[in-house]
């Protein structure tokens, strides 16, 4: 029906019909508000406290793997260093036992 009216053979009627179409005005900051609502739905709710924030960080797989790797490397390094020192002390004690007389110990 509308199409038929638009395609009216009378150009004057057609122009009048086009002018009569009402396009409502957008509310203020319409576009900004739309984007804000999109962002709100995409991002998770902010943590309530630092403890929650930290717990959330711990649960991130990348952080957990990195922390485990760092702890593993630190443990291996410290253990190797300590083991070397213990081995050195043992060897030193063996030597001392061989050269220092019992009477002087």
């Amino acid at each position: 029906m509308k199409e038929k009216l638009n395609q009216s053979p009378d150009p004057q009627v057609g122009a009048l019909l086009r002018a009569a179409r009402v396009s409502p005005a957008l509310p203020p900051r319409f576009q900004q508000n739309v984007w804000r609502r999109i962002e709100d739905t995409e991002s998770p709710a902010p943590p309530a406290s630092w403890l929650d924030a930290f717990a959330a960080l711990i649960l991130r797989p990348r952080f957990a793997v990195m922390a485990a790797a760092v702890l593993l490397l630190a443990g291996i390094s410290a253990g190797t260093l300590e083991g070397r020192q213990a081995a050195r002390r043992d060897a030193q004690m063996n030597y001392l036992a061989a050269v220092v007389p019992h009477a002087l110990r």
């Binding site: 403890l51 485990a68 443990g75 061989a98 002087l104």
Partner: protein
């Protein structure tokens, strides 16, 4: 309990377990692979980076030193036996016992001097820098303990005199 707190405590426990496990395993592995010296002089070779020639020389010195050391140790042990006999069950320190104590002290000093002479000879068989380091370490390890004991005794005595 708060869920976040449980997560944090669990993570801490897991982290501590990972660190402790890695530390213990690597420490054991290092000790197992490095702490089994082939002989008593192995420490000298590794610590002072000695050549085979230097080690051979030190082995000769060691072989000459040990019987002399054992001889003095036997003399000291014999004197200690004599001292115990002289002391017996008496409650007084007799002149004879005092003489035995002096003889033991003299033998110990002789033994110590012999040991220091051996250390000096060994240090001379090493490159100069390593020799100095060896001698310093041996002095600290063998004489340091006595000095520490004397120091603690004099400190203790001084403290007691001060309080009387």
């Amino acid at each position: 309990m708060n869920r976040s707190l449980v997560i944090l405590l669990g993570a801490l426990a897991l982290g501590a377990t990972i660190f402790a496990g890695a530390f213990y395993a690597s420490q054991r592995a290092t000790i197992a692979c490095c702490a089994k010296p082939a002989d008593d002089l192995d420490w000298l070779r590794t610590e002072f980076h000695l050549s085979d020639v230097a080690m051979a020389h030190i082995r000769k010195l060691q072989a000459g030193y040990l019987p002399q050391c054992a001889e003095l140790c036997a003399k000291i042990a014999a004197k200690k036996g004599e001292l115990e006999t002289v002391l017996g069950t008496g409650t007084n320190l007799t002149t004879e016992a005092q003489t035995k104590l002096n003889e033991i002290a003299a033998l110990r000093a002789q033994c110590q001097a012999q040991m220091l002479r051996h250390f000096i000879a060994v240090s001379q068989a090493m490159p100069p820098e390593q020799g100095e380091r060896y001698l310093a370490e041996m002095k600290q390890l063998t004489l340091g303990n006595e000095e520490l004991m004397e120091q603690s005794m004099s400190d203790h005595a001084g403290h007691e005199h001060g309080t009387h």
